[in-house]
Symmetry: C2
Subunit: 179 residues, 2 copies
């Protein structure tokens, strides 16, 4: 951030009075510009013993499989975000169920949130950001071709819970990748 | 948002190619400025059969009681945010436990997240944003003087779960206030 989005004057990085972290503060109108983590919200769409994955048509991780998920938008709930992203990426309609996982990814200031969701019909298809969309049984999951550690963590926990006969809510944290 | 925070040129509100929502787009460097919901993260600090509340020294809801909570910062996890906010607002050290509630507040583009937390000692005190900090048994909770519907929703669920002998994770949504 170089300029104030309110008035267009240059900003400076400083710790405001009563604060403890540096913020971008406008040199002219003195607006403090806070920057905060973003939520990525998605679904684990279920159909009988299968779940729906999307193969990414965009970077990062072009060509890898993932759960339908994306940045939460203003003025929606987390459940609405999960349903919207599933519709956008897999053209699939779901009934959003209970929260399944919430994984912090602090080094990129994101929190990834997944809901279990019931697929309402089989009329799914790749959305604009997907190359391919299909259902997988547990023994078909392409573990080596999955994108994003929060997705891998969530899917491992999902199948472990399903085998144990009880779903719980899972936390977690994805550390920075090894250098 | 009136000006591009990258280059200082005016922004215009438009739907970018391949997008479905209006965004602020720079007229000069074409940066798309996304705006996303913010997370407010807090704790339900427990000491035996009591929980810790803070009386607010700031607006909104000056003088009302609340759980320690605040905006999550970049580069931290949700658990770290809950512990940091409890330290800042109540000068209290906690061991953060399981997720307890996640409540969407879509009309202000926020998601409020509360963790159960174990108070580690009784050396708490009002932080800069609190007038008073104290422990409450269930029958002492000042229900009529609580701030924020997500806090009220979470505390009602907390005591109901505790009476039932089992804590679960609670979702929810706070609608716009009546006009």
């Amino acid at each position: 951030m170089n300029y104030c989005s309110q008035c267009g004057a240059p900003v400076t990085l400083m710790i405001p009075a009563g604060d403890s972290l540096p913020r971008h503060v406008c040199s002219q109108c003195h607006t403090i510009h806070y920057q905060n983590p973003k939520m990525v919200v998605g679904a684990i769409p279920e159909w009988q013993d299968q779940i729906l994955l999307c193969r990414r048509a965009i970077e990062p991780r072009y060509g890898y499989w993932t759960l339908p998920a994306g940045f939460m938008e203003n003025l929606e709930s987390t459940e609405q975000a999960a349903a919207r992203e599933t519709l956008e990426e897999a053209c699939a309609r779901v009934e959003v169920g209970p929260l399944f996982s919430m994984v912090s990814v602090p080094h990129i200031s994101q929190v990834h949130i997944f809901y279990r969701a019931r697929l309402l019909d089989l009329d799914f298809a790749p959305g604009e950001e997907s190359l391919e969309v299909r259902l997988f049984r547990e023994d078909e999951i392409p573990w080596e071709e999955l994108s994003f550690r929060s997705v891998i963590l969530s899917l491992r926990a999902y199948f472990a819970d399903r085998r144990a006969g009880q779903f719980t809510v899972h936390g977690g944290e994805v550390p920075p990748p090894p250098v």
